[in-house]
């Protein structure tokens, strides 16, 4: 909305919005700042904001004591693996629903969405049991499967809303020009679909990275991702604010950066296309 406003009004808006924005962001900023303090400085009274001896020692200690890289790698495998497998399964499904819709397409889409509403705790024991039987407990493979299944409805939905925006006429035009199905998919549709697929991948990677029910309940030391690693800090021994901050900063930094790129897709993905 481009409305003409006075400079004074604009200044008030700016000051107010920045104040609120910084207030909301403050816990993250504070965590990042604390990660560069020594443990003694982290609990200094009064709190130190910028004027302390900046140090990287916490990052070194976290890696050394708890093998941070292994948890990070587990997160990458679980979030990345589940997203890739999900995309491979969802693209054909979303594709056919968008381009060859039938009377039942809408029902199938809504039914898929309803599986997303299933409260995880309601099926906790069965999944636990199946995992024990199949030897999947505390394995990355098991987590990849679960993450893929819980996010599959969102992946299908997002892709569907993107694919539906590709005009059907363009296909007819390509066909008239003598393009076969292979050419059609390769040279006409794929280039148009890639942005949608990319944003779907981005959002689902984020959702899988941050998922904290199944990762906490189905993993232990071996396959635990960063969510589980951070949870182990809930029973502290001695001074630990700075180390908690360093571990937290490392766990959220990659996703914060990815997240900033995915703001627009977030709305579409999480409201199943109901708000665009």
């Amino acid at each position: 909305m481009a409305r003409a406003v006075s400079t004074q009004q604009k200044t008030i808006n700016t000051v107010l919005a920045w104040a609120i924005g910084l207030l909301i962001f403050f816990p993250i900023l504070w965590t990042i700042l604390t990660s560069f303090k020594t443990e003694a400085q982290a609990i200094n009274d009064p709190p130190l904001f910028l004027f302390f001896d900046w140090t990287l020692e916490n990052y070194a200690i976290v890696q050394e004591r708890s093998d941070y890289m292994r948890f990070l790698w587990n997160s990458v495998i679980i979030a990345g693996g589940s997203t890739i497998v999900g995309i491979i399964i969802a693209v054909p499904a979303a594709w056919s629903m968008a381009f060859v819709p039938s009377k039942r397409t809408k029902d199938i889409l809504l039914w898929m969405l309803s599986t997303k509403m299933l409260p995880a705790v309601g099926v906790l024991y069965p999944i636990n049991l199946i995992f024990i039987q199949l030897g999947l407990l505390d394995t990355r493979t098991g987590l990849v499967i679960i993450m893929m299944l819980i996010n599959l409805p969102i992946i299908v939905w997002m892709l569907y809303t993107y694919f539906r925006e590709i005009p059907g006429e363009i296909l007819e035009a390509a066909r008239m020009d003598g393009a076969g199905l292979r050419d059609e998919i390769l040279y006409v549709l794929t280039p148009m679909a890639i942005p949608g697929i990319a944003s779907t991948i981005l959002l689902n990677f984020i959702l899988a990275w941050n998922e904290a029910f199944w990762t906490l309940n189905l993993t232990a030391a071996k396959a635990g991702p960063l969510t589980a690693f951070i949870a182990s800090y809930s029973s502290p021994e001695g001074l630990f604010f700075a180390k908690l901050s360093a571990a937290s900063t490392m766990a959220i930094a990659p996703i914060l950066i990815l997240g900033w790129f995915s703001q627009k897709q977030l709305v579409r993905g999480l409201t199943f296309g109901a708000v665009k």
């Binding site: 919005a17 409260p119 900033w260 999480l270």
Partner: protein, 288 residues
């Protein structure tokens, strides 16, 4: 223009996704339903046979059931109230002309990308710790006695943490909705002399009603299954045991699978009631 051939191809392309989701839904659900009718204690004798509806009755008559219902309602209701009200106000503010709008948006959206275990622990320790937390310093600066947040105001603290996580979601969706509002309508109302409050009440709010409904429904579904935030802060103590957490404790901590499964069936029914309303709105949107 869809031929018989393309129809059957479409069915084949859809099959993997449909079959996987069908299995993912039906297999564990059937098992939960089955266990819920049995006395099943894996560590104390295993499966002790069919007991009909006893688990269902025991779950709702246990002394911790109604407190858990109340906790769940306060948590979900409190977070919804805070995020929707502040979300509307923030979205309206962000819609105004200002300098650095993009940066402010990024600052406000950031908490949504913080994993639940991190946000819960950062709040618990660095803000709510009664000795070294920032709140304690703040309270002391004003000469007040620091509050032991997670035991004396435990549920409120969790509402605060969860609201911080979900406010960005509400704001972002409501902002998207506000930006689709026809500005000419607002300008016309302004020229006709409608005061700001009635412009808000008669134009902005009705325009937002659909987006607000969607925010409420989606958040309710996610909030009903809040887990990590309670797990790493209070572990369900001090009146923060929600229905979800109670079921988790029945199943994994006290290993009473039959009882927990009955609770799980209740949770599934509850979630489905909310889901039906959400699906109606989403479904209507599909036709458009």
């Amino acid at each position: 223009m869809a031929t018989q051939h393309s129809r059957s191809a479409a069915r084949v392309m859809m099959a993997p996704a449909v079959i996987l989701l069908l299995g993912w839904m039906l297999i564990p659900l059937t098992m939960t339903l089955w266990f819920s009718f049995r006395r099943f204690l894996p560590l104390r004798g295993g499966d002790l046979g069919w007991i009909g509806l006893e688990n269902y009755v025991r779950f709702v008559t246990s002394s911790s059931f109604w407190p858990a219902v109340q906790t769940t309602l306060v948590l979900v209701g409190g977070v919804l109230l805070i995020t929707v009200v502040l979300g509307v106000l923030l979205a309206m503010l962000l819609d105004q002309p200002m300098w650095g709008q993009g940066v402010v948006r990024i600052l406000i959206i950031a908490p949504f990308f913080v994993m639940p275990t991190v946000s819960a622990l950062v709040w618990k320790n660095m803000f709510m710790d009664p000795v070294n937390g920032l709140f304690a310093h703040l309270w002391q600066a004003f000469g007040a006695e620091p509050i032991v947040w997670l035991s004396d105001a435990s549920l409120f603290s969790i509402v605060l943490i969860v609201s911080w996580q979900w406010l960005p979601f509400a704001t972002l969706i409501l902002l998207t909705a506000i930006q689709s509002l026809d500005s000419e309508q607002l300008e016309a109302a302004e020229m006709d002399g409608a005061p700001p409050l009635s412009r808000f009440g008669f134009i902005i709010l009705p325009h937002l009603s659909r987006a607000i409904t969607i925010v409420i429904l989606i958040q309710t579904i996610f909030l009903l299954s809040i887990f990590a935030e309670i797990f790493v802060t209070t572990g369900g103590a001090f009146g923060t045991r929600t229905l979800t957490y109670m079921i988790f404790q029945r199943v994994l901590e006290s290993q009473n699978v039959g009882l927990g499964s009955a609770g799980g069936v209740y949770a599934i029914i509850l979630a489905n009631i909310v889901a039906i309303f959400l699906m109606r709105i989403v479904g209507r949107n599909l036709d458009a």
